[in-house]
């Protein structure tokens, strides 16, 4: 890494225009340096009925730069979606994830694609983390054929089967029993993988959550229930909806861990810990203390139930991308300019994807009737009720 700085320094002492030309046309590669760096998480973990892991996390330049790049991309994607929604290219409900990116990237760093992730409707960035592309994302948001669900799902129904991403669900809390089922299937086939079932602080009050908790604990299913606590269930603050907002303790007989969800490394550490725990000792709850900058959805300004000061305060003190940026700069892994270039690159990628998605056609009218039943499955050859007499 020191080498690259020397190179830049010497280059800048030569012909300036050439430097500018060179540095702008050279795509800065993500450092492949894997020398370990030890970092402390922002706050210690708090455990419930379990010994929390230590605050010390091991990482490396490659990982940190990947975190930065991924989170920058996610942030850009969500901001772009905001503009597209205001331009009426995205309709209906659009729930944005900006502010919560650390949970998505930290979790991915701890898992493989064989592990399953299932979440609710704030799913765009998790989809990206699981291997979804920007094109599939924007095309789906705009209801085009090239969308991940062929334009038929929309914002709340992103899925990626090959990536182990099971959606994408609109009804609050209903994805948790599904996650239970994913874990059941993993136990059934004995394949040593785990399921992360994500839900919000609002969904934490759903009965089916406790039903699912009981079952995963009863049968020792490899499930990790992750509460993404952004402190607001749509417009209702957590203390107004929950008698006990200590969601990591709600499992009672199931151990829990409270994690700073704005610190990607803490999230990674916690998820690794949780995966080991789930495979050995059964289910565990993770509470990610996180925050969303946007309102609940694009129909919600997000400012009627919380102050602008609160939002800007969190942005200044706890923003996940800023934290990683400071870490990278402190350890001299890249220059400010290089990081800015990465962000510019992200912007470019997003713009390109949007342009391509705009060119993608709307679904064919015949698509209205496809994928209702499984293709070529007896029923397709059968005349469906009410589809006409001839």
């Amino acid at each position: 890494m020191a080498l690259s700085h020397v190179a830049t320094a010497s280059r800048s002492q030569l012909l300036n225009p050439l430097t500018i030309l060179l540095s702008s046309s050279l795509r800065r590669p993500i450092s492949t340096d894997t020398t370990p760096i030890t970092v402390e998480t922002s706050v210690p973990f708090t455990g419930h009925k379990c010994e929390p892991p230590s605050r010390t996390v091991e990482t490396n330049p490659q990982e940190l730069l990947t975190f930065f790049k991924d989170m920058a991309l996610m942030r850009r994607m969500e901001i772009a979606a905001d503009s597209l929604y205001k331009a009426k290219l995205i309709r209906g409900f659009c729930h944005l994830y900006d502010g919560q990116e650390a949970v998505a990237v930290g979790m991915e760093a701890a898992l493989t694609q064989k592990d399953c992730i299932i979440t609710a409707y704030r799913d765009h960035c998790i989809f990206l983390g699981r291997g979804g592309t920007l094109l599939e994302s924007f095309a789906e948001l705009m209801g085009r054929q090239d969308g991940c669900s062929r334009g038929k799902g929309g914002s709340m129904h992103f899925y990626k089967k090959e990536g182990g991403f099971y959606g994408g669900h609109g009804i609050v809390g209903a994805q948790v029993p599904l996650g239970c089922g994913l874990a059941f299937a993993q136990k059934y086939s004995k394949d040593e993988n785990v399921t992360f079932a994500l839900y919000g602080d609002g969904a934490a009050n759903q009965g089916q959550l406790f039903e699912a908790l009981n079952m995963v604990a009863l049968w020792d299913l490899p499930a990790i229930l992750v509460c993404e606590n952004n402190h607001y269930g749509m417009g209702t603050a957590e203390w107004r909806a929950a008698k006990s907002p200590a969601y990591y303790k709600r499992g009672d007989y199931v151990p829990g861990l409270k994690v700073d969800g704005m610190d990607a490394l803490a999230v990674k550490r916690a998820c690794k810990f949780a995966k080991e725990h789930a495979l050995k000792n059964g289910p565990i709850i993770l509470e990610m203390d996180t925050y969303r900058y946007h309102g609940h959805s694009m129909s919600d300004p997000g400012s009627t139930y919380r102050t602008r000061d609160e939002i800007t305060g969190i942005r200044q003190e706890r923003d996940p991308i800023e934290r990683i940026r400071k870490l990278i700069l402190a350890h001299d892994l890249a220059t400010e300019k290089e990081l800015k270039d990465i962000e510019k690159e992200a912007r470019k990628d997003v713009d390109e994807a949007i342009a391509k998605a705009k060119e993608s056609p709307m679904p064919d009218p015949s698509e209205l009737f496809t994928n209702i039943y499984v293709k070529d499955c007896g029923l397709e050859g059968h005349r469906l009720m009410g589809k006409g007499s001839s």
């Binding site: 009804i171 209903a174 239970c180 299937a185 089916q208 499984v374 007896g378 059968h382 007499s389």
Partner: protein, 408 residues
């Protein structure tokens, strides 16, 4: 009414072979030669894909203890093996179907309340937990919403759960999972995920079980896109439909009836699977088409005896497939008789009969000589008192009167 109706279905079989040259054979296209599907009349078709009829794993059924020798002499061209039969009660037929499928495919599993150690509240899963273990025959806590959701989630990864509702009415608690996740996931994921679950359980009006335990959920579920619904009524079709439902790639809701579990019938030893989308011709006739399903089939057949004595010739069809309707079989019948009577156990409002009336009117109104008559249960909660309960469901006498009116 008699709890055991000896082979009422079996004796009504018709051996009219030209009835069987149906384009609906294409609905067997999924069979991939591994099994042959039958018309419910008992004739073997589609078996000749260059393969002979596969021998059944007899140890599963031979234990029934019935004589293995054919009771009727073999006719030329008839498969002798097919005539070997054994007597079962309907719940045993369901269990046989389930057991055979679990042996055949390790991804088939069962989950529900008291299905494992207790053996099932109606004994459908008796003995299966001992045979397949506690994970494959899973006793769940009383949490319909989440264990239905769990089954659906498991199906997304490739397992084939058979989810039992101890009583169909309890599945109302799981309505969100059934409607949104079961029915719609294949569509909202753009075809990425299949949900090959079977949701089954007893419903219908029983013997003074009270309002909440006498529900008919087929009317609530029928509008859910993406699911199939079938109702079994005889041991023969119960086993065949159970197997078909398990093998189906779509989610299937299999409606059983509380009062039909002890029906007795002789069913083939040989393996068979029925078609989920086909109706069953119970009694061919000329004067009127009577469409029915589940328990009302027996009320209709009772009425049919009276009608025959009075000189009528009703055609009775057990529609079996509640979603989608077998409009092919039904249409052929309407074109022949020009009069339709629907007898169902659903409530009048928004029931299966209501949808069926609309479907027939839309598609075959040219062939109708009279408006379609639909006899349904009263739009009331099922009362506890025996006499009141009797009046909520359609009785044979009402069916006779309706036919007489229709054929005037």
């Amino acid at each position: 009414m008699a709890a055991t109706i000896q082979g009422i279905g079996a004796t009504a079989y018709s051996v009219n072979s030209d009835r069987f040259q149906l384009p609906s054979l294409r609905s067997f296209s999924e069979s991939k030669g591994r099994f042959f599907a039958l018309r419910s009349e008992g004739k073997v078709i589609g078996g000749s894909r260059g393969r002979n009829v596969s021998p059944l794993v007899t140890n599963a059924v031979a234990a029934k203890g019935e004589s293995a020798t054919a009771s009727t002499s073999a006719k030329p061209g008839f498969n002798v093996l097919f005539l070997l039969r054994h007597e079962v009660l309907l719940f045993e037929a369901l269990r046989e179907g389930l057991d055979e499928e679990m042996m055949r495919d390790p991804s088939v599993c069962v989950m529900g309340e008291d299905v494992g150690h207790y053996g099932g509240s109606y004994k459908v899963t008796k003995g299966l937990a001992e045979k397949y273990g506690d994970l494959r025959v899973l006793d769940t806590p009383i949490a319909e919403n989440s264990f239905t959701g769990m089954g659906i989630g498991a199906a997304m990864t490739g397992l084939r759960p058979v989810i039992e509702g101890m009583n169909m009415g309890f599945l109302l608690l799981a309505f969100n999972q059934i409607s949104n996740n079961c029915g719609m996931l294949h569509y909202t994921s753009g075809g990425q995920f299949k949900i090959p679950v079977v949701i089954r359980g007893p419903g219908g009006v029983g013997r003074q079980l009270g309002a909440e335990h006498s529900q008919r959920l087929e009317s609530y579920f029928q509008s859910i896109p993406g699911i199939q619904m079938v109702a079994c009524s005889t041991p023969y079709n119960a086993k065949g439909l159970m197997k078909a439902a398990i093998r189906c790639e779509n989610p299937v809701i299999l409606f059983e009836h509380v009062l039909l579990y002890n029906l007795k019938e002789r069913i083939p030893d040989e393996e068979y699977v029925l078609s989920l989308e086909e109706a069953e011709m119970v009694r061919p006739g000329e004067h009127v088409t009577i469409l029915t399903y589940s328990r009302m089939r027996y009320h209709v057949m009772q009425a049919a005896k009276t009608l025959v004595n009075k000189g009528y010739d009703p055609e009775v069809i057990d529609i079996r497939s509640l979603k989608p309707f077998d409009l092919y079989t039904i249409g052929n019948s309407v074109k022949k008789t020009h009069r339709v009577l629907i007898v169902e156990e659903c409530m009048r409002t928004g029931g299966i009969g209501a949808s069926l009336t609309a479907a027939i009117t839309e598609n075959f109104h040219d062939y109708l000589d009279a408006p379609i008559v639909c006899l349904s249960s009263q739009d009331v909660p099922t009362p506890y008192a025996g006499t009141l309960e009797e009046w909520t469901v359609v009785q044979p006498a009402q069916i006779v009167t309706a036919v007489e009116q229709l054929c005037k």
